[in-house]
Amino acid sequence: MLRKGQVGQTMTWMVATVIIIVISVVFLVFTNSLAAIKGVGFKIDFISARDSGAGTQQMLFAVLDEGVGDLVKAGDYSGVNPLVDSILEEFRGNGIECEFWVYDENGDKRNNLGSASGGKEVLIEIEGKEVWLQC
């Protein structure tokens, strides 16, 4: 025969068991939903992973090859402006928005031209000057 105390104790066990089962189910559901949204190690920035900047790097090479590289080397920053402006205009005409800028030997920003709504920034160093492009 069960005594009053034993009935109470059994009820406590049953409630505790139900709580543990509920917690386990919540844990499983949460784990499942977390697994569905996980990325590579949770930390990879997929936006930057999508654009490594390889295309922008090639475009920067092309821009420098069009005479911009020689002007930057010579430190003729005022000569860079009209040339890069016309190049960026041509890019814009083909649906590519780019921003171009140069850091001189002293780290001062020069020739900040165009605008980019996103994309990877790439740089090429020429004789202590940094030429940047973002498309």
Binding site: S24, N32, F46, R50, M59
Partner: protein, 158 residues
């Protein structure tokens, strides 16, 4: 009072609780780690980069290669392998790439899904990346170079 019996029932109860918790932890770990990670967005991006590197060197378009390349020799000329050795695919082609520049359009791989692919990886839909860049042609003028890369692998990422 039957204390010995009480303790036995209590031990059995704790054992059952232990089994429930262990099953939940094991199940949760299995669920989490068995779920596939969809890395096709990164994969198509890498594929597009490889194609850009194949055709463009230091900002200049390799027009000779663009004239010579075809769907038959694309893999060989660009050092790519489109067949997937994953057990379910048995070497079937899971990729498609297409380049267009100076009026030439060359595609290689399986193009059946190129019109339905999305840039953000979604289950049951192939993923693709579109790149447009301006490069110099042989005459030294800027030319548009377009790349489309696509990865299917929907079964692996369902």
């Amino acid at each position: 009072m039957n204390r010995k019996g009480d303790e036995r029932v209590l031990s059995l109860y704790w054992f059952v609780i232990f089994i429930i918790i262990a099953a939940a932890v094991t199940g949760g770990t299995y669920l989490f780690f068995s779920h596939p990670i969809d890395v096709r967005e990164v994969e198509v991006s890498m594929l597009a980069d490889r194609v850009i590197d194949c055709f463009v060197e230091r900002g200049r378009l390799n027009e000779e290669l663009l004239g010579e390349i075809s769907s038959e020799n694309f893999e060989e000329r660009c050092g790519l392998v489109f067949g997937d050795s994953f057990e379910g695919y048995k070497g079937d082609v899971q990729y498609y790439v297409e380049v267009s520049s100076l009026g030439n359009v060359v595609g290689a791989g399986d193009d059946r899904w190129k019109s339905i692919c999305t840039e953000e990886a979604e289950p049951n839909v192939p993923t693709c990346a579109r790149r447009r860049l301006m490069v110099l042609n042989e005459a030294g003028d800027f030319a548009v170079f377009d790349v489309l890369s696509s990865v299917r692998k929907v079964e692996q990422n369902a």
